[in-house]
Symmetry: D2
Subunit: 118 residues, 4 copies
């Protein structure tokens, strides 16, 4: 059983662990994907369905930054998905404990930060 | 102008070049994505829309191998997309010349081969 | 300050979170990379140096499964890196607390499991 | 035999096709990788060895844009590899015909263009 490998973690610790895994996975799987304003919604939908398959994930909300995508789509009409275009919440749940893992671009850090929202 | 950089290629050569780029891109962007029988269609749709953005691409047909996905989805209920699950055709067109670039798993080579179909 | 965003996590929780992120990142960044017996060591080295850059990571040990890589390298002489070829340990540390995040292929699950080793 | 699938291409067409595949592969495999000034050389080396495995590739020269990597490495000390940081040449050869496929960031297009150099 998968659970046998997690006896050393509390429910909250495991929910945090699985949230981290799925956010790291999502970022590095999909950054680089060709995207434009017109294809945002199919990409958002595929990301959500794909990450929902991961262990303990019960909800995924993906909102790509359309302003930034439009602004980055130069003469070629599209761009590559970048980390600072991601606004995402992943909810993981172990038994009764759920945790919300987020990524947002933080202006003060100039960095797309992954963090836990309470 | 983008075209200035391709004066050394015939229309057919450039259509072949762009087909190769887009097939290599697709493979290495999406291999590794979590996928199950239930999420095949959203992933196929997102891949098609994404690759259609690439230069010279006028049609993309993605058909993932459901038998192989089902068979690879063990106790966890999903698998990672692998190259031998891909059946894809990308049509590229430069002026009046179009070319169809394919990937299929070839049993004799035990390898997902990219080739041009006439 | 980056730390301001993590006031809701204990040191152990944050070490677990960052371990999960980096393992998910590593998997989905590098799965699909062309690899053979002869290129294992340069790939292992690049993965280690790359993941060491991530927040809170103080040690990374990557050992690819050479038997499986050899066995998967058919007529073409190489294969694509797959999750079940990964044996990896990532150590993350927050203040005095360090945590070891692992991935290994588990035969009983037929799945490359990510877990915390104590 | 692999060659049986390429009877419809001239040697030059196939060299162009394989160059396109390998450049598309490289871009979408490695864009997103954590990188800093200090890890450039191990990443360049791993990319070169990995892409050399691909069909028909006889030489790969990867030079990442260190100025851009330094400039993009903010408070966190590293960045994610982006397409406009790539200066790469891939040489493919079929029988006596070799072709050099390049990617460089083009200021006039604001786009990392893949093209064939004669």
């Amino acid at each position: 059983m998968e659970e046998d490998y997690f006896k050393n973690l509390s429910d909250r610790e495991r929910a945090i662990f699985e949230g981290g895994i799925s956010m790291g996975a999502l970022y590095h799987q999909f950054v680089g994907t060709p995207v434009s304003i017109d294809t945002c919604s199919s990409l958002e939908h595929a990301i959500e369905e794909s990450i929902l398959l991961q262990p303990a994930v019960i909800d995924v909300d993906v909102s790509l930054n359309k302003d930034l995508i439009k602004q980055s789509s130069g003469t070629m009409g599209y761009t590559s998905l970048e980390g600072n275009m991601l606004n995402i919440q992943i909810t993981t749940k172990i038994n009764e404990i759920s945790v919300c893992t987020c990524i947002s671009y933080m202006e003060d850090l100039d960095y797309p930060l992954m963090y836990i929202k309470d």
